[in-house]
């Protein structure tokens, strides 16, 4: 068990990286924040590829997750968050070597009317489905994605369910007996 000296060992070396990332993002840089869980950078989609390439060079090789958030009615409305971590390769069978593994988050804010973000699926094959899921649930398009189809919902589904203006219930009745299609009766409040 190594002695904990730095309260945030996972942040070692990241602070030095941030100015470079800021430079790589150029005009698309929005802000760099040190959050409770990890450091993060917010940017517009234009700078994503440059920043992520720089991060990959710095050893962030595992794209843990790509998530979407709808901040409606705030603007910018959509947030795509990329969580990255740096996994050492080779003979790494000692679990303590991973203690305080570096993590980093990118938050990308595309524009509201036509949200488009460049795809990462040619860098990480794992991004393929994650991006399809965001397309399916939020309607954010990923430019250059090889196979941008719905993934969780049926292909003919209308609307984007995780958007905040998509109601929890009250849409058309889709699967009623006898092919009936009509509005769902409102919830009885009592």
């Amino acid at each position: 068990m190594p002695e904990i000296v730095n309260p945030h060992p996972e942040r070692a070396g990241i602070a030095e990286l941030v100015p470079e990332l800021t430079k790589a993002a150029g005009e698309d840089f929005l802000e760099a924040v040190s959050e409770d869980d990890m450091d993060e950078i917010a940017l517009r989609p234009g700078g994503l590829l440059a920043v992520i390439t720089r991060l990959r060079e710095a050893g962030f090789n595992l794209l843990l997750d790509v998530g979407g958030t709808d901040h409606h009615p705030l603007t910018p409305r959509f947030e795509i968050s990329y969580i990255l971590t740096a996994i050492p390769l080779g003979d790494v069978r000692d679990p303590y070597r991973f203690f305080g593994l570096k993590r980093f988050r990118l938050r990308v804010f595309p524009n509201d009317s036509d949200p488009v973000v460049p795809t990462l699926s040619d860098l990480w094959p794992s991004a393929n489905w994650a991006e399809r899921e965001i397309f399916d649930l939020f309607g954010v398009r990923f430019e250059g994605h090889p196979d941008l189809r719905r993934i969780l919902n049926p292909d003919d589904w209308k609307g984007y369910p995780l958007r905040k203006d998509y109601p929890l219930r009250g849409l058309e009745r889709r699967f009623a007996a006898g092919g009936h299609v009509g509005p769902v009766p409102p919830l009885r409040e009592s």
Partner: protein, 410 residues
Amino acid sequence: MTLDLRALESNPDLLLTPGDDRDTLILSMGPQHPSTHGVLRVMLKLDGETVITAEPEIGFLHTGIEKQAENLFWQQAITVVDRADYLAPLSNSLCYVLAAERLLDIDRQIPERARVLRVMFTELTRLASHLVWLGTHCLDLGAQSIFFYAFEMRERILSIMEFVTGARMHQSWFRIGGLAIDVPKGFLDTIDDFIGRFPDRLNDMRAIVEKNVIIVDRLVGIGKIGQQEAIDWGLTGPPLRATGIAYDVRRAHPYCDYDTYEFEVPTQTAGDCYARFVVRLDEMVQSWRIIKQARERFPGGPVVIDDRKIVPPPKTEIQHSMEALIHHFKLVSSGFNVPEGHIYQAVEGPRGEMGMYVTSAGGNKPWRVRWRPSSFYHTQALKRLAPGNLIADVVAIIGSMDPVFGDVDR
């Protein structure tokens, strides 16, 4: 339902192309195939019995859990979070609860008894989940008897769960601030009985399968993946550790005092189905060790924090104190507010890194709960693992990735 022609049409991988000869066959495996563990459809393009391309199709179990979680109070959302990865409900809720506690900044106040019980029960959950995997995976490979051994042991775990929490599957026992209720009288005897019984039974099971020539023949060298590719495909948990990378969230970012428990992180280097098989078997021994240590510690004291704004007061107090009654009423009718912020919390679930990216807008409901479903990424990796193998090996590969479709589709 008509055949999903549209999906076929828009996906060139699944159409016969000019290079294919007359033996090329497109086969839809699932969604009701017994070895697909629920509801996975894999579109296979075959040359004879060899897979050329595989395209998994998911979404059959999509129930909008993330959307539902946004429409429930912070404390209520635990009930739907539990139902995502339905074989490991307590791992899910632990992840969510830890994230919410960090947003509330009460994560350092959780009583020790609650932390020890959380560790004990997530490890029991891991055992239960791995036992289901062991039984069904071997069943897929044609071994019948191991299934009964595994499910008998799992039944004991579920009985403990039922005895303590009142529910066999979706316990919702971890709450923001601690636990829902303390363990009942007689719990220690039950857990001691289990701790005493488990090693022998696990050794029996290992003796049946681990060196079994049929199992070894079916698994060794199948679905091989190297370290770099495993990282590229987003694999975590046992599939990553089977390539020799000892990445375990319990060691990398310890939570619930995992850094004070003694356990090893089993690894293999081959990266094939058999390596994943052995890693999971070894993990079960380590989980048992952790449960044993948690049992030895087992401190007294409360199981929830003493904060009336988050945890309702005890029933006896409500009957005497007006203020306690008001607190109770407020918590039940409108929950509590969580300060604005966003946080990524990860725990080591049975399948891999189970992460949650939780955003709070300051209200009494989570603004967004984003899963990092490890099964989702593991299912996607079938695209890489299946080609080149026989159809029967696809069954072995699906089993060795151990996807749970509640987790994939949410």
